[in-house]
């Protein structure tokens, strides 16, 4: 065999090994996203006083806004965000659009829970993963030429997860459905459609090469802008301000919930980047399982409930884990990966983004000639401001009196932190957070 053929074979093997590594990284990111998005519910459970759901949502989004600027500044520096935007400025529009979609979906879930209860609402909006699979297939060549085994794994896994989510939601619901049931069903379905569609901008950005850390910094303007507009238009400026000042004791816990949520969301973005939305969304939806673990083990929810409730919890959890497993073992390889590259090439040509940049970033690498990310005084300033704001609210906060089990809290926190460390280190070593 001539030496050139050896080189070619070596390069193919290297590509396949890199691609497998990125797929595993995406799956690990999906698991970490589930854990952190689930843990984000813990601080909000400390808030049991009667605050309007719209205000709770707005305060969490303020925490989210602070985290979405300070974390990227700390990890890569804003110079890297600016460089990404210069290469693909059109993606700012999609980031804003995705933020608006998130805010409207989140508000719809509030109405859905009010009208039909969590047990019916949750499985309805959890159908976002099925819509994500559809958009991924239609627009981004996901699951094309993937073979029936992978199709069964992804679609079957997502359906099994939806069934598991339904069982968990029934078990964890405490309130009976209220009036306006049809309205509630529409609200929950609407939230699922909005959240499922929100992943179109995600996938578009990552196929074009943008770093998830850059995308979220613009996403959050759409999110905060839309949420603030909705809160003001629903409640009015003066009543909103009154509610905010009267809730100052608990603002910190809600903002902390938002901060923890952002860490989960960043992992979710990396999952969407490296395994696509058809696999990334269902994997991240395992957050319901983690949220339930926090609720049952740490906050003593479901205490004293009958055997049937616990059977539903165990059955729902097993179904969710089976679904997650099926999806995790159906990662994209070979021909499907080539179809992803076709979709990326189409984006690169349409928007005039350098093909080398798109290819390098899809491969989790820096493009040739790209400057190494570095932090400036502005980045440290952003981190200091966000930390200062959190410190001020922490000083005002009061620990509420409620049943809290420290042992399970320590175990769950440790597990979540281990996932952060393992996945964070793996992302750093493999992709330098690109």
């Amino acid at each position: 065999m001539p030496p050139a053929a050896y080189t070619q074979i070596g390069s193919v093997i290297q590509d396949a090994s890199r691609s497998k590594k990125l797929q595993l990284l995406g799956i690990l990111s999906g698991f970490a996203a589930g854990a952190w998005l689930g843990a984000a519910e813990a601080p909000t459970k400390l808030v049991s006083i009667g605050i309007s759901p719209m205000v709770i949502s707005l305060i969490m989004v303020i925490g989210v806004f602070l985290a979405r600027w300070s974390l990227p500044a700390l990890i890569l520096g804003t110079s890297s965000v600016r460089a990404d935007v210069r290469r693909a400025p059109h993606l700012v529009i999609w980031a804003l659009l995705a933020g608006c979609l998130w805010a409207v979906a989140n508000t719809l879930t509030i109405f859905a829970i009010r009208d039909i209860g969590l047990s019916i609402a949750f499985p309805l909006w959890n159908s976002n993963s099925l819509l994500g699979i559809l958009w991924g297939f239609l627009f981004f060549n996901e699951l094309r030429q993937a073979g029936w085994r992978r199709w069964t794994g992804v679609l079957g896994g997502a359906l099994v997860m939806c069934a598991g989510a339904a069982l968990l939601a029934v078990a964890s619901s405490t309130a009976a459905p209220a009036a306006h049931s049809l309205r509630g069903v529409w609200a929950a379905l609407g939230a699922g459609i909005l959240w499922g569609t929100m992943y179109i901008p995600y996938r578009k950005a990552y196929l074009t090469g943008m770093s998830p850390l850059s995308f979220v910094t613009f996403f959050t303007f759409g999110e905060l802008g839309m949420m603030a507009t909705l809160a003001v238009s629903y409640l009015g400026l003066a009543p909103l301000w009154r509610e905010l000042t009267s809730a100052r004791d608990v603002l910190f816990w809600l903002m902390l919930g938002g901060f923890v949520w952002v860490i989960g969301d960043v992992f979710q973005q990396y999952a969407a980047k490296y395994v696509g939305i058809s696999r990334g969304i269902p994997l991240s939806n395992s957050n319901q399982l983690w949220g339930l673990l926090w609720g049952i083990l740490v906050f003593g929810e479901l205490h004293g409930r009958g055997v049937s409730t616990y059977t539903q919890v165990i059955g729902g959890s097993v179904l969710m884990m089976l679904g997650v497993g099926a999806i995790a073992f159906s990662s994209a390889i070979g021909k499907e990966q080539m179809r992803w590259k076709d979709a990326a090439q189409r984006e690169s040509q349409r928007y005039g983004v350098s093909a080398d940049y798109v290819e390098a970033r899809m491969d989790g690498r820096q493009a040739a000639g790209e400057l190494k990310p570095s932090r400036s005084a502005l980045d440290w300033f952003l981190v200091a401001v966000a930390t200062g704001i959190f410190a001020v609210f922490a000083a005002m906060a009061r620990a509420p009196r409620l049943s809290f089990h420290w042992g399970p809290a320590a175990v769950l926190s440790a597990a979540t932190l281990v996932l952060l460390l393992v996945c964070g280190l793996k992302l750093w070593r493999t992709t330098r957070f690109h």
Binding site: P89, H90, I93, W94, L97, A98, C100, L101, V104, A105, T107, L108, F111, D115, W135, F139, H180, R183, W186, A187, G190, I193, L194, T197, M198, I200, P201, K204, L230, Y234, R350, Y351, G352
Partner: protein, 41 residues
């Protein structure tokens, strides 16, 4: 000369966005969501 080529790039980018189905699907869903919110309020 430089300004005219920058304008040209911006115009073509805007045209690419406005003729991209990836733009209109999320916009339509967002509009639908806002209408739904108004209806169920």
């Amino acid at each position: 000369m430089h300004r005219s080529s920058t304008n040209q790039i911006n115009t073509s980018r805007l045209a690419s966005i406005l003729t991209d189905i990836h733009f209109w699907v999320p916009v339509a869903v967002l509009m639908g969501g806002l209408l739904l919110l108004r209806f169920i309020r």
